[in-house]
């Protein structure tokens, strides 16, 4: 039987096992919305802005490992989605984004709501397609999911002209597709893996440095096994938190610009660095000239282009993180070489000395609420078991530093692109994926206002998110840099005319709370968490001028931190 393109679209998504589509209707996608109306397999979530649709799909993907799906209209629908697509692209998040397009015979005519979606999204997608013939639609959708979820994952955009959604074709959804020009590597080279293990065992001052690739590549269990077996110290990047239990003794915490003293010093002084699913980002390496001056480097990554991009490595291994880690464990079992236990004991002694500095300590007797204290209390009250999303800025760093993630998929933030406005919609996506779990959004009064309209979506779908607004009446990270590097000239970093967040939350139908006293923090959090079926917006009035420490200033090496 022949189906319209719109019905084919709905059938493909159902056959692909898609649960939710996050989107917003418009002229070019009306046929598709009509097809969605007539089916029950997929639930469409109506957001209030297309950027939020992409972030929600992204949050769904990050919290499950499954691809997020977005549907927006042509023109402004597509351009609004771009920030979310770029956010997913920078963090390698699997996502399939459908954009409506003007009819094929109008393309290029500057038609109403026409934009070159393929051209605009090209630099911020893994791949994109324009479907010009309804006969190609089903196979293109299959290819998009295949590309988005394999190799180094990423967003794929499919642009569908309106006439294609009305035209008819036989429906056939291929079970598998192969693309001759796309064959992502899975297993690592056995000889390289052997070489890597030999180098790892020869270390006197080893250091394991892992990133988002461990989470995306489902390698957390294997990583934990390997690192436990070796008794080596480990650090996680911002994207890699949860890849190894944060509360384990061997974990030195996050590294990089706002990483811990012990993690950064161990990086700087190590003699063998084992990098797994991490990409030597500039926020991690500091001044690249001064990075790990004495280390031989093993680098495991699924993307060959990530290897030797910023830093020269001694043993490169291209492959799926989990598969390579398992192979390493096998080699470790068979090899005769032994860990240098004496050297390792001395190394650990040194590391403990660095750790004893307690670089994350902060004033516990402050009369104003310290943002760190709120995150610490949130961790205690939620027993470290919540899904936590964040926006971008100081609160993001405090969340990463003080909420200890023992499991993968729980920490959801925009690491690469640094997108303010990400936190709330991402939390929505995570809550849809995990309806019975606690989802918290740690945010600031600047970031939250970039997608505040989504409080309406939360009401419509009854999402009981807990929003922790660290409100310091400043764009905190901008203010911090202006204090340090611009002699305190606070240009445009002051947030004036803030709304009354309690009333705002209430006007959307939610519960609002304002907390101004440190003594009330714990109680308020407990009270909010007890409201299991309500969204609670907690407005914490925090210390205005608290800074994020430690900090590595621009141009400095990892051993040149500002501590307090």
């Amino acid at each position: 039987m022949e189906l319209t393109g719109a019905d084919i679209f709905a059938r493909c998504l159902a056959d692909e096992g898609v649960e939710y589509v996050f989107g917003y209707p418009g002229g070019a996608v009306l046929h598709i919305y009509d097809a969605l109306y007539k089916q029950e397999a997929i639930e469409h979530v109506l957001v209030r802005h297309e950027q939020a649709a992409t972030h929600a799909a992204d949050g769904y993907a990050r919290s499950t490992g499954k691809p997020g799906v977005v549907l927006v209209t042509s023109g402004p629908g597509a351009t609004n989605a771009v920030t979310g697509i770029a956010t997913a692209h920078m963090d390698s998040i699997p996502m399939v984004v459908f954009t409506g397009q003007v009819p094929t015979n109008m393309i290029g005519n500057d038609a109403f709501q026409e934009v070159d979606s393929i051209g605009i999204t090209r630099p911020c997608v893994k791949h994109n397609f324009l479907v010009k013939d309804v006969k190609d639609l089903a196979e293109t959708i299959k290819k998009a999911f295949y590309i988005a979820t394999t190799g180094r994952p990423g967003p794929v955009v499919i642009d569908i002209p309106k006439d294609v959604t009305a035209d008819k074709a036989e429906y056939h959804y291929p079970k598998k597709v192969s693309i001759r020009s796309y064959n992502p590597v899975t297993k690592g080279n056995p000889r390289q893996i052997k070489k890597a293990v030999e180098l790892m065992l020869s270390a006197e001052r080893p250091m394991v440095y892992t990133g988002g690739g461990v989470i995306l590549g489902r390698g957390a269990d294997s990583l934990t096994k390997l690192v436990k077996k070796l008794n080596y110290p480990i650090t996680n990047t911002l994207m890699g938190l949860g890849g190894y239990p944060a509360t384990d003794r061997q974990n030195l915490g996050m590294l990089g610009m706002h990483g811990t003293y012990e993690a950064n010093m161990s990086m700087h002084h190590c003699d063998v660095l084992i990098a797994i699913g991490a990409r030597f980002d500039d926020r991690v390496t500091g001044n690249i000239e001064k990075f790990c001056p004495t280390a031989k480097i093993v680098h495991v990554d699924i993307d060959p282009a990530s290897i030797a991009k910023n830093v020269k490595v001694d043993v490169p291994i291209v492959g799926n993180v989990d598969s390579v880690l398992k192979d390493m464990l096998d080699v470790l079992k068979e090899t005769k070489a032994k860990i240098n236990k004496d050297a390792l004991a001395i190394w650990w002694k040194q590391i403990e000395e660095w750790r004893s500095l307690d670089c994350l300590k902060f004033d516990q007797n402050s009369e104003t609420i310290k943002p760190q204290y709120v995150v610490q209390q949130l961790y205690n009250v939620t027993k470290g078991d919540a899904f936590v999303t964040s926006d971008v800025g100081q609160h993001q760093m405090f969340a990463a530093q003080y909420y200890k993630f023992d499991k993968p998929y729980r920490w959801i933030n925009s690491g690469g692109l640094g997108t303010m406005g990400f936190g709330l919609p991402a939390a929505m996506g995570a809550q849809f994926a995990h309806p019975d779990e606690l989802v918290c959004c740690i945010t600031g009064e600047g970031s939250i206002q970039m997608n505040i309209q989504e409080l309406a979506t939360c009401m419509q779908y009854g999402l009981p998110l807990k929003i922790i607004n660290l409100n310091n009446r400043f764009l905190g990270m901008v203010r911090q840099w202006q204090e340090f590097f611009y002699q305190g000239r606070y240009s445009m970093s002051y947030m004036d005319s803030l709304p009354d967040f309690v009333k705002l939350a209430e006007s959307y139908g939610h519960v609002g709370m304002k907390i101004e006293n440190p003594a009330d923090v714990e109680g308020a959090l407990k009270e909010a968490m007890a409201l299991k079926d309500r969204l609670v917006f907690m407005d914490f009035i925090t210390d205005r001028e608290e800074n994020v420490y430690p900090m590595i200033p621009a141009g400095a090496g990892l051993n040149e931190m500002i501590l307090v």
């Binding site: 090209r122 630099p123 324009l130 001759r180 020009s181 993307d303 282009a305 991009k309």
Partner: protein, 166 residues
């Protein structure tokens, strides 16, 4: 900053070329010349691109190109022995007996072909390496040249090595 000739076999699809060009501009790599056309298999295009960069940059360029979904295979021709050729068409002033004879002589020396003639102009077709084409331009002299068109470099590996999907 070594000169490299990168030869790419890619899907002959709308948008594939702009992905290659976009990658170069987005990552700040330079393109000295670029030439592209379908191959004997109409589903494939062959693109030849000349660029300059350190070994590290060329390594990144080839890795990033390989990541493009539509790129099937590529080689850096300058890694081994290869032949490169470029086609140039030059329209030159050719008035009066002496001038026409001089152009004719230069054309013979460079083994070009005169492919169009008017009472006032000659059009020369010349194939060779970039150096050879440059040399003809110098020999004719800028004041006599009305226009030049160059195809950009095409290249192929010497010997039995070939870039194909088989």
């Amino acid at each position: 900053m070594m000169r490299h000739i990168i030869s790419i076999l890619m899907e002959n699809e709308a948008g594939a070329l702009s992905r290659v060009a976009g990658l170069f501009s987005a990552r700040g790599y330079n393109i000295e010349s670029l030439t592209v056309a379908p191959t004997e298999d109409p589903s494939l295009s062959r693109l030849t691109l000349v660029t300059r960069g350190s070994d590290e940059i060329i390594e990144q360029i080839t890795k990033q190109l390989n990541k493009l979904i539509e790129v099937v295979k590529l080689i850096d021709l300058t890694d081994g022995p290869h032949v490169e050729r470029e086609l140039m068409l030059v329209k030159v002033k050719a008035m009066g007996h002496d001038e026409r004879a001089e152009i004719d002589r230069l054309n013979d020396i460079f083994r070009g072909n005169i492919i169009d003639v008017t009472p006032k102009t000659y059009t020369i077709e010349l194939t060779g390496t970039g150096d050879k084409l440059d040399a003809l331009i110098v020999a004719i002299g800028a004041d006599k040249i009305l226009e030049t068109v160059r195809s950009g470099v095409s290249g192929i590996a010497r010997g039995e090595k070939s870039l194909s999907v088989k």
